[in-house]
C-alpha cells in the first residue's frame, strides 16, 4: 500500500506554552512571591513553596543566526535542562534552579559575546526594527545604529546605577514598528523629501483612490498625466510620512542626502508613578552617517548623561524633564529649540503653553 499523503495542518496555533515551561515554573505557576536582582542580569524568583528560579539575562542583537541559537541551546542543555526564553525586549534568558549554575552560565554566554545585564535601573536592549536588512520603507538602518549606540552605552547595560529604567527604541520609519513612540529615548528614521512619482508604474500598480486617501495632509491629489489617471503631490503639504508609498510602491521617498534620524525623549509605557506617555521631539534631524552614526551616538549619550546626572531616584527621563521643564531641558541638552519642535498636526493647540508658569 502507498502512504496516504499527510494531512496539511493549518490553524494549529502556537505550541502550548506548557510544553516549554521548566518544571519549577509549572510547579510554582502563579505562586511566585518575590524576586531579587542578585547582580546585573541575574534575577532570582522565590515561590510560596520556597522553590527558586535563577534567570541569567544577556543581550542579543535580535538579528541572530542559526549557529548562534545552537550555541545558546548548548548552554541551555548543559545548565538549564534545555530551558531558555527571550524577553519582551529581545534579551535571552537562561533559567535554572541551581544557584551554582549562575556563574558558569554567565561566563559561557559572555564568552559568546553576549554581555549579561539589562535588569533593574539599567539600559536594557534597544527595541528596534528591520532597517536596510529587510524593509523597503527604511529611512535609515536599524541594526547598525543600535549596535553603535549600545557599544557606547554598554556600561549601563551591565550596571544598575542609573536613576531609573531607561528604555531606548529605534524605528527606521514613521510607521514606528515597536513602542518607539513611548520610549525614554526614541531614535526614528525620517524622510525629508516628498515622494518621487513614477507615473508609468503607478498606473499599473496603484489604486488611485486608496493612494489619495492614504495621505494624512491631503497632499496627494488625483491628476491626469498624458491622458492617464495618476496622482500629484503638493510638495508644501507633504510631511514625508511615506504613507502614500505604503499603499503605492511607485512613490518612493528614499533619498541618501536627505534621509536621516530624529531623536525623541521622555516617553514611557509603565503605569509606575507617571501615566504612560508619548516621547517628544528632541533632535529634529541628524543625517545618516553609516556605519556608526557618530552624531546619533553622541546625541543619545548626551541625553543619557544629563538625565543620569540630574534625575532623582526612580525618575524616568520624562518625569525628570517634566519636573525641570522643557526650556531647561533644551538648555541642558544644548539643543536649539526650533520651529520643528512645535507641533502643527491635528492636536497641536493642546501642546501650546497656556500658562505663565515659566522659569527664568
Amino acid at each position: 500500500m502507498t502512504a496516504e499523503p499527510a494531512e496539511r495542518l493549518t490553524d494549529i496555533g502556537p505550541p502550548h506554552y506548557e510544553r516549554f515551561l521548566p518544571p519549577v515554573v509549572k510547579a510554582n505557576y502563579g505562586k511566585w512571591v518575590s524576586h531579587e536582582i542578585l547582580q546585573p542580569g541575574v534575577l532570582v524568583h522565590t515561590a510560596e513553596s520556597g522553590d527558586k528560579i535563577y534567570s541569567i539575562r544577556a543581550a542579543t542583537a535580535r538579528l541572530i543566526s542559526v549557529p548562534k541559537i545552537r550555541q545558546f541551546c548548548d548552554i541551555a542543555d548543559k545548565y538549564c535542562d534545555g530551558h531558555i526564553r527571550w524577553t519582551s525586549r529581545n534579551n535571552v534568558e537562561f533559567l535554572t534552579t541551581k544557584k551554582e549554575n549562575v556563574e558558569p552560565i554567565k561566563q559561557a554566554v559572555e564568552a559568546l559575546g553576549h554581555p549579561v545585564g539589562g535588569t533593574g535601573n539599567s539600559i536594557t536592549n534597544i527595541v528596534h526594527t528591520q532597517g536596510w536588512v529587510h524593509c523597503h520603507s527604511a529611512a535609515t538602518d536599524a541594526s547598525g545604529i543600535v549596535k553603535a549606540v549600545m557599544d557606547e552605552l554598554m556600561d549601563e547595560f551591565t550596571n544598575m546605577r542609573l536613576p531609573g529604567k531607561l528604555r531606548i527604541a529605534l524605528a527606521c520609519c514613521l510607521n514606528m514598528c515597536g513602542a518607539v513612540h513611548c520610549s525614554d529615548i526614541a531614535i526614528l528614521g525620517i524622510h525629508r523629501r516628498p515622494p518621487t512619482i513614477d507615473h508609468d508604474r503607478l498606473r499599473k500598480m496603484c489604486e488611485i483612490p486608496n493612494t489619495v486617501a492614504a495621505c494624512p495632509t491631503a497632499a496627494v491629489r488625483p491628476v491626469t498625466i498624458d491622458g492617464n489617471p495618476s496622482v500629484e503631490v503638493i510638495e508644501e503639504q507633504c510631511m514625508f510620512c511615506a504613507n502614500c508609498f505604503t499603499v503605492c510602491p511607485s512613490m518612493p521617498l528614499n533619498d541618501p542626502e536627505y534621509d536621516g534620524v530624529s531623536i525623541w525623549v521622555g516617553g514611557k509605557v509603565s503605569n509606575a508613578r507617571h501615566e504612560p506617555t508619548f516621547s517628544k521631539l528632541a533632535v529634529p534631524y541628524i543625517p545618516n552617517n553609516p556605519p556608526r552614526w557618530p552624531e546619533v551616538v553622541s546625541a543619545v549619550k548626551n541625553l543619557v548623561t544629563i538625565w543620569t546626572d540630574n534625575a532623582r531616584p526612580y525618575e524616568r527621563m520624562g518625569e525628570w524633564i517634566e519636573r525641570i521643564g522643557w526650556p531647561r531641558f533644551f538648555e541642558m541638552a544644548g539643543i536649539d529649540f526650533q520651529k520643528e519642535h512645535i507641533d502643527d498636526f491635528k492636536h497641536a493647540v493642546t501642546t501650546y503653553k497656556t500658562s505663565a508658569h515659566l522659569r527664568f
Binding site: R70, A76, R85, W86, S88, A138, D151, T277
Partner: protein, 408 residues
C-alpha cells in the same frame, strides 16, 4: 560581483565593540548559507549608498492563509541573486517566549536548509521572524513548521499574533494568567489571525500588572493590564527593614513619588490611603519584599493603541475598568466570560463601519467614543476619560427625553 562571505568596508566597523554584532551573526550564517552571504553584500551596498535596496513587497503567502508572510524582493537582484527573493515568515511564538532547545534546534535545522539561516528573535509584535527565503520555499517551510507544532503569525489586516509578559510563569505580580489568555485567544481566533477580513490590523497584548512589561498600552489595539481592587498588602516589619537595613529613603523614593500622594510614612509605619491609590505599582516595585498588590484581582481592558499612521499615534484607553479573569465570578461584575461577546461586538462594528486601513482607535475617534460604546452595548463610565469634555459641542441625545416624556 560581491561574492565574499565576510563583511568588509563599512560593515566591518560594526563587528567591533562590546555589544553583540548583527554583522557577525550574518557572517556566521553566511558560512553555510548563500542567502546570508548575499545579504551582507546588499547591506554593504546600502551602507555605501545610504539607501535601502529592497523593493516594495509583493503579495506572497502560503496556501489558505492571507497573512504570515512578508514578500520582499531586492532591487539589485543582478548583483545579489541569492536575495532576489527575500520573504520573511512570521512564526507565532509560544506564550511568553519560553522554549525547549529541541524545538529551537529543529526550527534552526529547517531554516538553515530552507531560508537564510538568519532570524529575529523576536519581531516587535512577538513572532519568531524568519528573515528571508524564496517563494518556492514558503510552502515547504510552512509544512515543516506545522509538523513541528508551530504555525504562522499574523500580517496584513488580520488579528496579529497576541503576546504576553512572563506573568505567572515567573513573576509575583501577575494579577491574572497572561499566558493562558494569550494562548486561548490566539487559538480561539485562528481564523481571524490567518484570514484578512478586518479593515486593518488588530493586536492583543496581555500584561500581568500595571508595569506593562509588554508595552501593551502603546502597541496593542486591545491591552489587558492586570490590576487589583482591594488594599495593598503591607508587611510593616519589612518596610522598616527597608528603611533600616537597606537604607531606603522611604519618604523620598516612595511616598513622594506616589502619583496620588496617598501615602504617609512616620518612620515606623507606612500608611496607604487605598481608596486613593491609583494602582500604579511604584511603591510595590520599590519595596517589593514588603508590599504586595491586593488579593482581589483582575484586569483593566484598554482599547485603541497604534502607531502614527494615519491620524496620529494613540495610546490605548480604558474600556473596562475592571474585569475579573478567573472564577469565582461574582454577580454584576465584568468577567472573562463576557470577553468573547465584547470582542465580537467590537469587531463586528468596526468590521462593518471601519474604513479601509482605519485602526479601531481611529475608528472610535471618528465616530465618537460615546457612539462606539452605545453600539457595542457598554455603559459609559467616568473611568474611561481623563476628564469629561471641555467643549460644549454636545450631541444631546433627545431620543432619551422623548422616551422619558412618553413614559410620563
Amino acid at each position: 560581483m560581491a561574492d565574499k562571505t565576510k563583511a568588509s568596508g563599512k560593515l566591518d566597523e560594526l563587528k567591533k565593540g562590546p555589544y553583540p554584532s548583527f554583522v557577525k551573526e550574518i557572517e556566521a550564517a553566511a558560512e553555510t548559507n548563500k542567502m546570508a552571504h548575499d545579504l551582507i553584500g546588499q547591506l554593504e551596498l546600502s551602507y555605501d549608498e545610504k539607501l535601502c535596496h529592497w523593493k516594495h513587497g509583493g503579495i506572497v503567502g502560503v496556501m489558505g492563509y492571507g497573512g504570515g508572510v512578508i514578500g520582499r524582493y531586492s532591487d539589485v537582484p543582478e548583483k545579489f541573486p541569492n536575495v532576489s527573493h527575500f520573504h520573511t515568515l512570521r512564526v507565532n511564538q509560544p506564550a511568553a517566549w519560553f522554549y525547549k532547545t529541541d524545538a529551537l534546534r529543529k526550527i534552526c535545522d529547517m531554516w538553515e536548509k530552507r531560508g537564510s539561516s538568519v532570524l529575529n528573535v523576536h519581531g516587535s509584535t512577538g513572532d519568531i521572524v524568519l528573515l528571508g527565503t524564496t517563494t518556492p520555499q514558503l510552502e515547504p517551510v510552512f509544512n515543516e513548521l506545522t509538523s513541528l507544532g508551530f504555525d504562522l503569525g499574523g500580517s496584513g489586516s488580520v488579528l496579529r499574533t497576541p503576546s504576553c509578559c512572563v506573568g505567572p510563569a515567573r513573576c509575583e505580580w501577575a494579577m491574572y494568567d497572561t499566558l493562558k489568555y494569550a494562548y486561548e485567544m490566539t487559538m480561539r481566533y485562528q481564523d481571524e489571525l490567518h484570514r484578512p477580513y478586518f479593515p486593518y490590523k488588530f493586536k492583543f497584548k496581555f500584561a500581568g500588572c500595571p508595569n506593562d512589561c509588554v508595552a501593551s498600552v502603546a502597541r496593542a489595539d486591545m491591552s489587558f493590564i492586570g490590576t487589583w481592587k482591594d488594599d495593598i498588602q503591607i508587611d510593616q516589619d519589612k518596610v522598616r527593614w527597608y528603611a533600616e537595613e537597606r537604607k531606603v529613603d522611604i519618604e523620598d523614593v516612595v511616598v513622594e513619588r506616589c502619583p496620588t500622594k496617598c501615602m504617609a510614612w512616620d518612620g515606623k509605619e507606612l500608611f496607604i490611603d487605598n481608596r486613593n491609590c491609583a494602582r500604579c505599582m511604584h511603591c510595590i516595585n520599590v519595596l517589593h519584599l514588603a508590599l504586595k498588590p491586593g488579593k482581589d484581582r483582575g484586569c483593566t481592558i484598554m482599547l485603541g493603541a497604534k502607531a502614527p499612521i494615519l491620524e496620529g499615534a494613540q495610546l490605548s484607553s480604558v474600556l473596562v475598568p475592571f474585569m475579573r479573569m478567573a472564577p469565582p465570578y461574582g454577580e454584576d461584575e465584568a468577567t472573562a466570560e463576557d470577553l468573547p461577546e465584547l470582542i465580537d461586538n467590537i469587531w463586528e462594528l468596526w468590521g462593518e463601519e471601519g474604513k479601509n486601513r482605519e485602526r479601531v482607535g481611529e475608528f472610535i475617534q471618528r465616530i465618537g467614543m460615546g457612539n462606539f460604546l452605545d453600539a457595542i452595548g457598554l455603559e459609559p463610565q467616568a473611568e474611561m476619560v481623563a476628564h469629561p469634555r471641555t467643549n460644549p459641542y454636545v450631541f444631546y441625545d433627545l431620543g432619551k427625553d422623548e422616551e422619558e416624556e412618553e413614559d410620563e
